[in-house]
């Protein structure tokens, strides 16, 4: 469970992190370029709008100019007809929508007795056309810009915007055209008034968004119109904005007053904007200042929406990944459980069902294969173990049988005593001994079959049985050995052989016949305590060659002497340094035998001596010891 959780969580987190990074990178790239494009578009758009509006305004003003010029023709023709002046000015105001007022202002005393004469037609506040004679002492037009400039320069002129107190009673700008006589004297100034409201409407249409600023400045940088807060009509814009210490703004005004056209960035402490500006007419110039935040408001909104959507998408992705991976790795968890069950010894643990054809299926197949293999091996191991146990138990039985073949009841009477020991190196061995009392004689044998284990044990059993049988037939020792040899040699394909020492002691006379068939020489410990190896002719081992003629020998045992028979397991017993017990040590032992020691004592002491010598070393060969005491009367 833990594996699945951490695995899916880890993988999902990794996917989430990578996807988020990709999302963020793509979003940043998209936003960057969107930003660029929107900014460019906004600037182009603003410039285009400014340009269009300017053209519109210029066109209108130019129309007003030509209207006045045409009007000058008509006035000149009927200069004496004062009533006509009212008619023509009225016609101009009615025909031209943008012209809110028109006047023919004569120079002082042009008509005798009339110091002021300026017939004027205008749109009144209630939108009806009205006419009046402008000039009087309260409205001395001779001192007004719209009259004085063309009068003196003899050139047409656009006045700066002004409030026409006593005239149109509105904010206006006036185009004045001097009417000259043949003497090149100005006799009258013909005018057309354009409402500032109209200009304002045109410019207000430029208002791209709520926070944009529109600015219209005159040729000297004076404020004409706009939506800048805290600045009055005709005030110097540079001085106003310099108070706010905004160098960008100062630069903008300078560019505008020098009639330049362009775009520039505008930084204030709290806002980042751009300005599009261009000349308008008559030295005037307009600008639109747009804060970027407004331009990017929609982009920011889009960014916000994308972010929210992305977060939800990523969250959804994370949850689905987590679920899917968890589902995919669920079999792994179940495999883990199955492995735990198997670890506890149940090799038939239920495996999860896999329907997909993928790595998990491979895992399942491997797991199943492993399960089958383990079960197979366990079955095999059980069989092997059972077989081994059977062998071992059979070997143990064989050992019991073999050990019971050699006599363990030892005679100890007034004429002789016998004792023996057989210690197989393995469960069963090839060593054996036997003895049999028959009448006056006691027959004895000690033997060692070549090799060890079961084959040796089988040969040993045959040999011992042959000895048992033959010793009862009253044969001489040499014949007895020959018969044993022939028994073993026949059909001895394995060339197994036995070394034998066979003897017969006449308990009355002490005469001993013996035959050594390839066996170790036996030790004789005389009655006086002196010990030596009994000389014996070496006959070939038993079982090697059929029909071999064995020879026996005879010796006289004095009463009180003992025989020590042994197998090479004694003399070739090795200590840990591989040193052998040896013949001389055995002889030394025999020389130290006490007269009072029984046959059993001798066997016990000898095996103790051998064990002391070998110490920790393992026994490599069967050890057999047989002692016979020929007693005093």
């Amino acid at each position: 469970m833990k594996l699945s959780r951490s695995f899916s969580a880890r993988l999902s987190t990794t996917i989430l992190v990578i996807t988020s990074m990709l999302f963020i990178i793509s979003m940043l790239v998209v936003l960057y370029f969107s930003h660029k494009i929107i900014e460019e578009e906004a600037k182009k758009n603003a410039a285009a709008m400014l340009s269009t509006t300017s053209l519109n305004i210029i066109h209108t003003l130019a129309e007003a100019e030509s209207t006045v010029k045409n009007m000058a023709w008509l006035v000149e023709e009927r200069i004496e007809d004062t009533t006509y002046m009212y008619s023509i000015t009225s016609a101009v105001v009615v025909i031209n929508e943008e012209i809110v007022g028109s006047c023919v202002a004569f120079r002082p005393n042009y008509f005798k007795g009339k110091q002021y004469f300026a017939p004027y037609a205008y749109d009144s506040e209630d939108d009806s056309l009205k006419v009046k004679q402008l000039g009087n002492d309260q409205y001395n037009y001779f001192k007004m810009e719209w009259f004085t400039v063309p009068f003196l320069t003899k050139k047409p002129h656009w006045s700066n915007p002004y409030y026409d107190q006593g005239g149109g009673q509105i904010m206006m700008t006036t185009y004045s055209y001097p009417l000259l006589n043949k003497k090149n004297e100005v006799i009258a100034v013909i005018t057309a008034d354009i409402s500032i409201d109209w200009l304002t409407q045109q410019l207000c249409a430029l208002n791209i968004n709520d926070d944009s600023k529109i600015l219209l400045v005159g040729d000297k940088g004076q404020y004409i119109f706009g939506n800048l807060p805290g600045i009055g009509f005709q005030e110097d814009v540079i001085k106003y904005e310099q108070a706010k210490k905004n160098p960008d703004f100062v630069q903008l005004i300078k560019n505008m007053t020098s009639q330049k056209k362009g775009t520039m960035p505008m930084r204030t402490s709290h806002q980042y904007s751009f300005a599009v500006y261009g000349p308008l007419y008559n030295g005037w110039s307009t600008a639109i200042i747009s804060p970027y935040e407004n331009i990017f408001a929609k982009l920011n909104l889009m960014q916000f929406i994308i972010t929210i959507v992305s977060i939800f998408s990523l969250l959804l992705l994370f949850i689905s990944c987590h679920r899917i991976i968890k589902k995919l790795t669920r079999p792994v968890t179940e495999f883990s459980k199955a492995a735990l069950v198997m670890a506890q010894g149940d090799f038939h643990a239920q495996l999860p069902q896999i329907k997909t054809e993928d790595e998990i299926k491979d895992l399942h197949d491997s797991f199943e294969h492993m399960q089958k293999s383990i079960n197979h091996y366990i079955q095999e191991l059980k069989t092997t173990t059972a077989t081994k146990e059977r062998f071992e138990s059979e070997l143990n039985i064989a050992r019991q049988i073999q050990l019971s073949m050699v006599p363990t009841e030892f005679p100890d009477n007034e004429r002789f005593s016998v004792h023996a020991l057989l210690q197989p190196a393995r469960e069963v061995g090839g060593d054996f001994y036997d003895f049999k009392e028959k009448g006056d004689n006691v027959f004895f044998v000690i033997g060692d079959v070549s090799g060890k284990g079961v084959p040796a044990a089988l040969v040993m059993a045959i040999t011992r049985a042959a000895f048992r049988f033959l010793s009862g037939l009253g044969l001489t020792i040499d014949k007895m050995v020959e018969k044993i040899n022939n028994t073993l040699s026949a059909r001895n394909k394995n060339n197994m052989f036995v070394t034998l020492f066979v003897g017969k002691i006449n308990l009355t006379t002490g005469e001993m016949y013996y035959c050594n068939a390839g066996h170790n020489p036996i030790v004789i410990r005389h009655a006086d305590g002196h010990a030596e190896y009994l000389h014996a002719k070496s006959n070939i081992v038993v079982g090697a060659f059929e029909n071999f003629n064995y020879e026996h020998e005879v010796t006289q045992l004095e009463k009180g002497s003992r025989l020590i028979l042994y197998t090479d397991g004694v003399t070739e017993a090795e200590d840990v340094t591989k040193a052998q017990y040896g013949d001389s040590r055995l002889l030394d032992f025999a020389n130290k035998i006490d007269d009072k020691d029984s046959a059993k004592d001798t066997v016990d002491h000898l095996i103790t001596d051998v064990k002391e010598f070998t110490g920790e070393a393992t026994q490599n060969d069967d050890i057999t010891i047989l002692t016979i005491s020929y007693k005093q009367d």
Partner: protein, 100 residues
């Protein structure tokens, strides 16, 4: 235990070194196999570096001897060390195998 066999025609010069005991008896049998398969073989085994033989080893000498006897060959052991010779003497093998 190490067995080196040099063959020249039907003459086999064998050098036998080390101990022949229960632990390497099977190997010894394997090493002697070429000799056990030859006919009319005149086998001479140099035993100067042979230090010990167990009864198992003797068994293979016996098998070899029986083989040469039945296949018109000959077997001679030479330069045998005294303690090894003693084993051959005790077991009566000196009576059936030619030792020089």
């Amino acid at each position: 235990m190490n067995v080196t066999i040099n063959q020249e025609g039907n003459k086999y010069n064998v050098i036998l070194e080390g101990r022949v005991d229960t632990s390497n008896a099977a190997q010894f049998e394997q090493d002697l196999k070429p000799l056990m398969e030859a006919s009319n073989a005149e086998i001479q085994i140099d035993c100067s570096d042979m230090t010990y033989t167990s009864s198992q080893g003797l068994r293979y000498f016996l098998m070899l001897q029986k083989h040469v006897m039945s296949h018109q060959g000959s077997l001679v052991l030479c330069n045998m060390q005294p303690q090894v010779k003693e084993v051959f003497d005790i077991t009566g093998f000196s009576n059936i195998i030619k030792i020089v």
